[in-house]
């Protein structure tokens, strides 16, 4: 191949490794900060952060389905609810935490598969609206199954408590637990998407026809994505319960699913960071605007949403990434115009 192309390749590699090291350093710092936060923050802050992580986990699952596989879902809050109720039931009946966690995952996977198998036959809006049935059914069903869910009153429970040796308050311990589980979930998602599965889902989003032409079983992968989303929703819900200590029908308003989609887009699809930022946006912005103008938080949330989309259409994470790479980028050769002719003229070479 031409010399220029090789240089480009090597340059790319160098940039890649440079980026990787900065990433590691940044990651380590971020991790340290995240772990250190609860020790100095108020229970209010810890609760908010735990909620952000719980929601982010749920969004990460949605991102696999909606961002990567391109199937817009409006049903995520149902799985969130299943996860939270599993946790609630488990804690209310004195189960050890891992057991109810497992229940949350298993139930959501089962529910996810059952719903997904027919639903993935649909495309576009139809798929999204079909999934909307889930949260609509959720509330009356939760009321009916009151032996399980506490009915309209809900379940108020004591969740995980800090062990005595740790010397921590419960909210600190809960935050750390949520953080740890969240980190594992994000790592799993990262691994899952890096490589074969991620490529398959992305190609499905672009073209199901192209995907099947290379042997990707489209339906099965969509079911997989939906199930992953469901499982993540369940874990998110379980974490939410761990932090909030309460789950009831009022927690699962019909708009929650839509809000999750909003958060995902605001944060930026196909990005782990986007999930976290989106979750933070959803949790924190109303708290901030509420301080300024109690009672107008919805209005300001709407306006903030529009502004963000307006200014950074690829989501906040996209903006951050762009800003970051502009900061890092060694000044690029300013003349891409000078691309060597040889590169394009392989055919006549």
């Amino acid at each position: 191949m031409t010399r220029v192309a090789q240089e480009g390749w090597r340059g790319g590699l160098a940039k890649l490794t440079a980026r990787r090291t900065t990433r590691w350093v940044l990651g380590a710092v971020a991790a340290a900060v995240l772990v250190a936060i609860p020790f100095n923050a108020s229970p209010y802050t810890n609760l908010q952060l735990a909620l952000v992580i719980a929601l982010a986990v749920s969004l990460r699952g949605m991102d696999v389905l909606t961002g990567h596989a391109g199937q817009v879902t409006l049903g995520q809050s149902a799985f969130f609810g299943i996860g939270a109720y599993s946790g609630g039931y488990g804690f209310a009946h004195g189960w050890p935490a891992p057991l109810s966690f497992l229940l949350a995952v298993v139930l959501c996977v089962i529910a996810g598969v059952i719903v997904a198998i027919p639903a993935v036959r649909l495309r576009g809006f139809a798929f999204g609206v079909i999934t909307l049935a889930l949260p609509v059914v959720m509330a009356p069903l939760a009321i009916r199954l009151d032996w399980l869910t506490g009915g309209p009153v809900g379940l108020a429970v004591t969740t995980v408590q800090a062990p005595a040796w740790s010397g921590l308050a419960d909210d600190q311990w809960q935050y750390l637990l949520v953080l740890a589980v969240g980190a594992v979930m994000f790592l799993l998602a990262h691994n899952l998407l890096a490589g074969r599965v991620g490529r398959a889902l992305t190609l499905i989003r672009t073209s199901e026809i192209a995907a099947s032409s290379v042997g990707i079983p489209v339906q099965r992968y969509k079911v997989l994505a939906f199930t992953v989303a469901a499982a993540y929703g369940g874990v998110g819900g379980w974490l939410y319960l761990t932090a909030v200590h309460y789950i009831g029908v009022d927690s699962l308003a019909l708009t929650l699913s839509i809000s999750m989609l909003v958060a995902l887009v605001v944060g930026g699809v196909r990005s782990p960071l986007g999930c976290v930022i989106g979750a933070a946006f959803y949790i924190l912005v109303p708290n901030i605007t509420d301080k300024a103008t109690p009672g107008r938080s919805a209005l300001f949330f709407g306006v903030a949403l529009l502004i963000v989309l307006f200014v950074v259409p690829s989501g906040l994470s996209g903006a951050l990434r762009a800003g970051w790479s502009r900061l890092l980028a060694s000044p690029r050769p300013a003349t891409p115009a000078a691309a060597p002719p040889s590169a394009e003229q392989h055919a006549s070479a």
């Binding site: 817009v72 576009g124 139809a126 079909i130 919805a298 709407g302 259409p313």
Partner: protein, 292 residues
């Protein structure tokens, strides 16, 4: 128990969904997207009609004025807001309309508060009878308006140059621009027309369920379901589907003990899911072209 009454009640409820569903279909046909803010836009113009009628303007005139304002509002929203997101990912556009929905809701509450208002109906609320079943003139009037909107929309899209242009732009804006179609104007027109239909829906619905900022929040969900079940690009489909949903919901809630009145709100969505699985393009929709 009177099945006929349940069917008629179902149709009145369905008409509520249908009024909004028609606006959704209109926006979809002329811009290719679903507008989640449609309900709130309708609410806003209904409030305007109410505010005018409060100052003594006769209701019919107030409604006409509100529809006109809604047309302008639709166009302005498209021009100032939606336009900036053109060509972006579809999902982003949807979320923009969600943001718009939240914002308009906030504005309505800010201006008029969140308490109930009554707006006069365009039709009297006298009871009419059909055998043992009862309904009101308002219900009949609503159906009549819906049917006329369907006819107008059908003629618009199938018989006029404007309709053809709208369909072309919805199918592929870039390609339509190559034929010299004024994309911006057409998209604006689509939003404006949908605004008109939506506001008409709003003033039809409001007397029935009382005017308040959130009055169409849950209606929107069923309207979307009806639009999709009907085929998303078919006005008749949307209305028929809305009636089907309303009727089935009532019958299931009343006569199937397992469902009961508590779970009946879920029935329309389940029905929709089942139908779509059999006919993915919806009852009246055309299958989207997919070529290999």
């Amino acid at each position: 128990m009177n099945i006929v009454q349940q069917v008629i009640d179902g149709m009145t409820t369905g008409s509520i969904y249908a009024a909004l569903a028609l606006a959704l279909v209109l926006v979809y046909r002329s811009t290719g997207m679903i507008n989640f803010a449609q309900g709130q836009m309708a609410v806003l113009s209904t409030y305007l009609a109410w505010a005018m009628s409060q100052t003594g303007v006769p209701i019919v005139l107030a409604v006409v004025l509100a529809v006109v304002i809604a047309i302008v509002m639709g166009a302005v929203i498209e021009r100032l807001l939606i336009r900036r997101f053109e060509g972006r990912e579809h999902l982003t556009m949807i979320i923009v309309t969600v943001g718009l929905m939240t914002t308009i809701n906030g504005v309505v509450i800010w201006i008029w508060g969140a308490d109930l208002k009554t707006i006069a109906s365009l039709f009297p609320s006298d009871a009419l009878g059909l055998g043992s079943a009862r309904f009101t003139v308002h219900d009949v009037g609503t159906v009549a308006v819906l049917v006329s909107v369907i006819v107008v929309m059908q003629v618009l899209f199938q018989r006029t140059r404007l309709g053809l242009a709208l369909r072309a732009v919805a199918d592929n804006p870039q390609s339509s621009a190559l034929s010299g179609l004024p994309i911006g104007v057409l998209l604006m027109t689509g939003w404006a027309l949908a605004g008109a239909v939506g506001s008409l829906g709003g003033v039809l619905i409001a007397p029935k369920i009382s005017l308040q900022p959130g009055m169409l929040d849950s209606v929107l969900i069923y309207a979307v379901a009806a639009a999709i079940l009907g085929g998303l690009d078919s006005p008749i489909g949307a209305v028929v589907a809305a009636w089907v949903l309303g009727v089935v919901q009532n019958l299931a809630g009343t006569y199937i003990p397992l469902v009961g009145t508590d779970l009946q709100i879920a029935v329309p969505l389940v029905i929709m899911a089942v139908v779509l699985l059999i006919r993915p393009q919806g009852l009246f929709g055309r299958r989207e072209v997919m070529r290999v």
